[in-house]
Symmetry: D2
Subunit: 345 residues, 4 copies
């Protein structure tokens, strides 16, 4: 299969190129950018010199149609809302890594993103590709909306509890922490090295765009779910997300019962690793991989369950999950191109 | 005034030496260690060469009595439980930076610390020196128990809410993050550079010794307070703590009202800075100082209040607050020796 | 004494404010900026909130004259070349932290800086304030040109060798490493956190502006000195410079002899610490201070001397040395306001 | 082919497991440790859970012979000197990642390592596997001594110059910088996070064990080569080495000529990337890969050549080059299992 990448100069795009480099069935056939046509990937990223000869091309659906079977869009907010329809009309399959197609309610998107939403029709067609919980839909999809990095870690961590009615949804609090690569490649005061190193920051309190995305999926799983508290912090590191999730148990439970529940829920999910008794994952343990590692426990003093879910935000939180979705879509082995061991240390 | 430091080779001890170096009224007269007598501070810490000539001496109450008016104990768990009484008997004032005198219930200490507790009499005498909320007691004290780093950030962040019955205490969740210096100077796998850098870890889930310390103080402030959920994480940085605190409001409120409440509560507290509307503090903004910076907001979607409280764990969370307590005890200006601007960037 | 700071929103300016906050004789009376008039320092830097009420004012020599006795210029290249004369004409003393007045040969400046140089008259008047080696000139100066960060570490490390003819100047190679704060506060791709963390970079090979500054001073000390090789690297940390300096000895020597030489050379220099036998300094050991720590050794296999010199680039390499110069100029104790212990760890 | 790994709990061993996981022709058949028999790799390294079921076994040549065709020794100094002969006697091929077989002169080894050297016979048999310059010897070898991390970066950077007599060997100075993973997994004060972060250190000045290894190879290439100056520094990052290399040119040259020389020298070397005009590599650009990226320039002011050579110390500096050697030895494609794109950012 041939894949085109739109927005290849961002970190998501570069990660797609890294991961697809050793994919047995999918090959990057072209890369596209709205502004840097003619630039080679080796100019945009020195680490790609002598590894790929790809050159950035313009974004034109009919031309892409000639070159690719599937298109990965790794574009800033607002872009795929505008251009996806033309790709779909050409019959191309698309995996959109941006947030544009994630909220099925256009008004909700416009409220949180402050941008014009995608056409209703496109939103209706888009499948929310949290692969572990959407395999059948993904197999049949033409348009896949790839989940956000924070929602991926959060939702994989919450699914068994929320689907099984084991927690009171109104008590859910997600305290999330991310490395800086989630903020993209554009230099800013927020991510200036001298201001970010030896520093721990909180940002967008109660205002993060991933809040409605998390709530929408929880409500699909459990109609009693409503709002959640979700906070985001910036860690002085580049890659990795940890979501520490709190919720009150509906009935008394034990760590052992909870781990059984999770192991059953994910027994056919090669990328979700439920950790051993009393063991909690660190972000580095999934660095560079498509794994989501989950630790879980119950505190009988407070009646609360704590779930700890970690991912590499650029892999399982972006490019890796996009490829996982493509694998499922095309009927390849789910792990194709993603059977990697973490770069540790 | 002359101060002795017991346990001067740890980070808390080194920080006391740094801060007292420019204190107008207190001078370090001797340093003590259980194992390194005869070693100079310049040997233990190259950065202290040619700055101080202090040499480590043995720990002997009657000798310390000759040299000092006040003793700072910056010792591992279990040590001050054993040696404090002899210092008190000599009539010395003490500020204990360890956790040994913080829990007034000996059995509670022994449950959480798995060590023999201090004598009941000593526990009764010890004043819990969260300076902002204990000035009168500190003034009259002979024995001051200096709060833990996490409890300092947490309790300063929660006090106005809990004292004012503005939150339901049963809903309090504290998600705390710390730099590695809180783990001390002893090398370990947990804090080995190659394993800690580019990594974000959670540790001691539901088992941290600071949990009973926080609960004890909340209950003193509000008899309806009971258990809290408190989680601790290790950030790949050296100094700094952020406590992100969540609680359900008892009645609807606004960020403005909350900020008014906090500004009033801390108007006479030179080290607590309530941040401006929509502004949340980062740890680097208090780096090297005795400040506790607090941001606060209310989310009317969820009815929850979020408080963000940051400190430098070695200053306001240890040596700085110890000196602040000594200042209050001796009737010096509260800011003496602590009127510092953060090292930024 | 009252000091004005021009360019107070940069890191050099912020560091002057930090250090002068506790200076016994010098007080910051006004801060100036070419573009942000009306902004308070607390808006520019949250860590300065509630610590200073200074507000940025325009840059107008006659007004500054009313407010200050001395002016610190912490401005980008090219600015003090233009505005210094007007300040000097008002009778103000100035310490210029930029590179504009460091090269006495205007043409040389213009070749390396690619900017119009300062008036010849001003260049003639400017004293190169490497304090340890220029005390008499500084005392008598009206215009002090504060050395660059790299040249400070390098020249303090080389002075005894070059002045004493102990090395062949043509063999001098300086391999220098710096934290990112030397690059200033403006966000850039080079210092974007995601690209700089877990990364070690070399930059401006053979082209750094500090090359002619180092060569000029070496030639003043030793007429046989000519060109040097000087390389600069960016370390994933914020503060600190290490210069590792290599040169061939003119005659066989020993580490002991070299250390004697250095100790004698710097016996009256409170900020230069010659390290013990076989001990070499790390940057963190001078973090936040005005120290320059030096280690030195001789390799009889190669006949080469290695000097290791470390400073905090924002203190001894900028604001600290500027204050040290002001202290000497005004006849204050050299350590006034600078008697600090490193923030360690 | 089946590979056994001795010393699998160190970082070199873990990296072999990571890289061989996707090798098309070599599979890890057993892992061995002197002290942790029975432990699974998932216990030693949580990131290996559910990825490999390997369990540590004892080190016994006759048993290993049953399981493996080749043995990778990733052991501390002194171990392979003792155990290699028994493996060789069993007819096993070995790649030794330790320094024990690198110096062909046993006395030289014992002087620098302060340990008993390997048997002379074994030293004679061992091929120094700097793959790019030893392909024919490696193909025919039974015993391959894998080069040290620093020597790999240094020698690949110097080879074309020294072999071509383009520099005066007596003037060679190598200023090398490494991430902390080169120091191994054992916790120490040197690599304690709180002491290493925001710190830049120099260590083992003129005493590093890699000095004789570098000199030996230079002398093989050019009989006029003698001693070099080689310094090592620790960078606050985990992976990556940069060697900044200085030497005086024997005749005037240009950057263009030098780059032509290097491109020709390495045109058949898939892992050496000579960088473009005026472009110098950063360590992150080879992070996780087997590349050695080289930048080079000439300064006509000083007559000196500067070479900048970067590698990932755990890949090209250890496990990656070991696999590259195994590939050449077995006649596999040189890039088999190593055709990776850097993890960037």
């Amino acid at each position: 299969m041939r894949a085109a990448i739109i927005g290849a100069t961002g970190y998501g795009g570069a990660e797609l190129i890294r991961l697809l480099h050793n994919h047995p069935h999918i090959q990057v056939s072209s890369v596209h950018s709205s502004s840097q046509q003619g630039t080679s990937m080796g100019q945009a990223y020195p680490h790609l010199q002598q590894v790929t000869n790809l050159q950035l091309e313009e974004i034109e659906a009919s031309i892409i149609k000639e070159k690719a079977d599937i298109v990965f869009l790794s574009t800033p907010p607002g872009v795929s809302a505008k251009i996806s329809s033309s790709l779909v009309d050409e019959g191309l399959k698309i995996v959109d890594l941006s947030g544009d197609l994630r909220l099925s309610d256009k008004a909700n998107y416009e409220r949180w993103y402050q941008l014009e939403g995608a056409p209703e029709e496109l939103l209706k067609e888009a499948v929310y590709g949290l692969t572990e919980w959407a395999k059948e839909e993904v197999k049949a999809a033409q348009v896949i909306s790839n989940p956000g990095c924070y929602p991926t870690a959060t939702l994989l961590g919450l699914a068994p509890l929320v689907k099984g009615n084991l927690v009171d949804p109104k008590t859910i609090i997600i305290d999330a922490k991310s490395g800086t690569s989630g903020a993209g490649r554009t230099a800013s005061a927020m991510t200036h090295y001298s201001e970010m190193n030896e520093n721990f920051k909180i940002y967008k309190v109660n205002e993060h765009k991933h809040i409605p995305e998390i709530e929408q999926q929880l409500q699909r799983w459990n109609s009693t779910a409503s709002t959640v508290t979700f906070s985001t912090h910036l860690v002085p590191m580049v890659r990795g997300i940890m979501a520490t999730i709190y919720a009150s148990a509906t009935t008394e439970t034990t760590e052992e019962q909870l781990r059984d529940l999770y192991q059953t829920a994910y027994e056919n999910s090669p990328f979700v690793r439920v950790r051993k008794q009393s063991e909690f994952p660190s972000t580095k343990e999934v660095f560079g991989t498509n794994f989501c590692d989950i630790g879980i426990t119950y505190d009988n003093r407070t009646g609360r369950i704590t779930v700890v879910s970690v991912i590499d935000n650029l892999v399982k939180g972006a490019a890796g999950q996009a490829i996982q979705n493509a694998n499922v879509l095309f009927g390849f082995e789910e792990k194709a191109g993603l059977d990697l061991i973490a770069l540790y240390p």
